[in-house]
Symmetry: C2
Amino acid sequence: MQIEKVILAKRPIGEPTFDNFNLEIFNFSEIKTGEIFVKVKWLSLDPYMRGRMDSAKSYASPVEIGEAMEGECIGEIIDTKNEKFEVGELVIGKFGWVSHAVSNGYGLRKLERTNIPEQYFLGVLGMPGHTAWTGLNKIANAKKEETLVISAASGAVGSLAGQLAKKKGLKVLGIAGSDEKCSYVTNELGFDACINHNKIKDNMEFRNLIKSYCPYGVDIYFENVAGKTLEAIIPNMNDFGRIAVCGMISWYSGKGINEAMALPKLWRTILVKRLKVNGFIIFDHKETYPQFIEEVTPFIQKQQIIYKEDIRIGLSNAPSAFIDLLNGRNFGKMLVKVGD
Amino acid sequence: MQIEKVILAKRPIGEPTFDNFNLEIFNFSEIKTGEIFVKVKWLSLDPYMRGRMDSAKSYASPVEIGEAMEGECIGEIIDTKNEKFEVGELVIGKFGWVSHAVSNGYGLRKLERTNIPEQYFLGVLGMPGHTAWTGLNKIANAKKEETLVISAASGAVGSLAGQLAKKKGLKVLGIAGSDEKCSYVTNELGFDACINHNKIKDNMEFRNLIKSYCPYGVDIYFENVAGKTLEAIIPNMNDFGRIAVCGMISWYSGKGINEAMALPKLWRTILVKRLKVNGFIIFDHKETYPQFIEEVTPFIQKQQIIYKEDIRIGLSNAPSAFIDLLNGRNFGKMLVKVGD
């Protein structure tokens, strides 16, 4: 039988293009004792994957040229020579941008079939959701009546972080990239306000706009984008403010880095305002996943949390979906439906 | 009688010079009911005072033109119309760069005469000492066997922070501005090593030198200087490292700001290495002063902590002493002996 894989064809210089990917077909005959054979149903696309395309050392190893792109998937077991797994079971694992995968079962998590759509466990009840919950509660230590700003507010992480913050009694300002997204963020997700950063002319306007929505200053900034948004937030931070650094998508492909604010300005603000700036990565927080699931699942079941998906069909569309994601041309959690 | 004051004559552009200060003489006749009259014995000079000379908003108000420079002092009460204070008592207070001061007693702390030199309570047992202790224990949460780097290692804060860290079982690398200071830091204070930053040619040399002394990376950076030192530390930080931002003397007068590292590099490191960067100011931590005193006083009494002072004689020498301090031409805690 044949396995399709989207491999890293060459490393991007700046923004990824179609040239950086290639869809390749591999022949596969049979699994060995202890192995399972998985048919991938869903692939999650997330901004962190841009980092894996570079050769630079990061918190995880880069994808090598010719290797399948990394990614978390939900798959169904279609063959097994491992007594711990049965045909028909659903599993979550880092199978990558592939149609099928062979696994010894290590690092896989079984997924019960419930009334919750299975792919939610790649999104609002998966890694992005856990990231939102952790950033808000464990990293930023958000408290009732504080003011929170979230960039990439309509995205998989931002949209949940803001809704959970509203439930806790915070004031929440979102930043997003279109009027349509902003309208979704305020009217559907229930944030107090949302700024369309693509309509802002300069830093001073951005800064003043944030100030007008946050007259008592910003206590917490949930950082997903960096760039111009970060620069406009910094002067609005309150004493003892917290910045939870979760992502910096606007700088991932080198764009805007040369025009970025000088370091001393930030450093002085960190000192003078006694800020806490904490980077975090969800893989370090596995121990709180059950607590997160216990807290958020009832909201999903009672439809008290809004969750939007941007689903692209077919593995061959993963590169274009990923490029769209990096450029904010998604609306909701980006997923690829790989197989049925 | 006459009171001498060193006033802020004009705001500095860049590094302060003698032109920025003026020694003025004021006539004074008599205190009113509820007041005390204090003869200043010791004035503490500290880098943070540079910030007060600018009009920019900081965590404290700037000194106004024509006002006495701000500063913490030890004085003796020589007249009193306040029943809570007696002539001959020693008090610590923010009297400023002055020979005498009138006070209603608010915000003053009485100082018992002990076998410890009184001026130690402006240094190793005062604000700089408490800063060192807080940065190490409360901000950076230093733990046995971790690797700590301290800039301005021979200064009032750095010298105590490093000695306390050695007592806790950390590995400690100092950064200082001369071979003489480095020799003091390693041979007398007992740090494991010390780098003379004035001997470093470029960033890569600095970075590699830190790496050679910290082969397992840097867990904690106690930041007092910023600039080139910060840039060389960042790539050496370990995952989950902490940066306690206490000062940034190399940037206080605008020097080096234009050549500083771009912000995105730092931001990426904070995310990828999950750093905690915390600014702190000792005035927020008054509640731990008794705990600090209880812990450190025995070390001073048993001479298990080395403490060096750089004492300049006479209020009129405060400006030159302060300019020396900002340029690293002090050796030990900078104090002005104002009166006997």
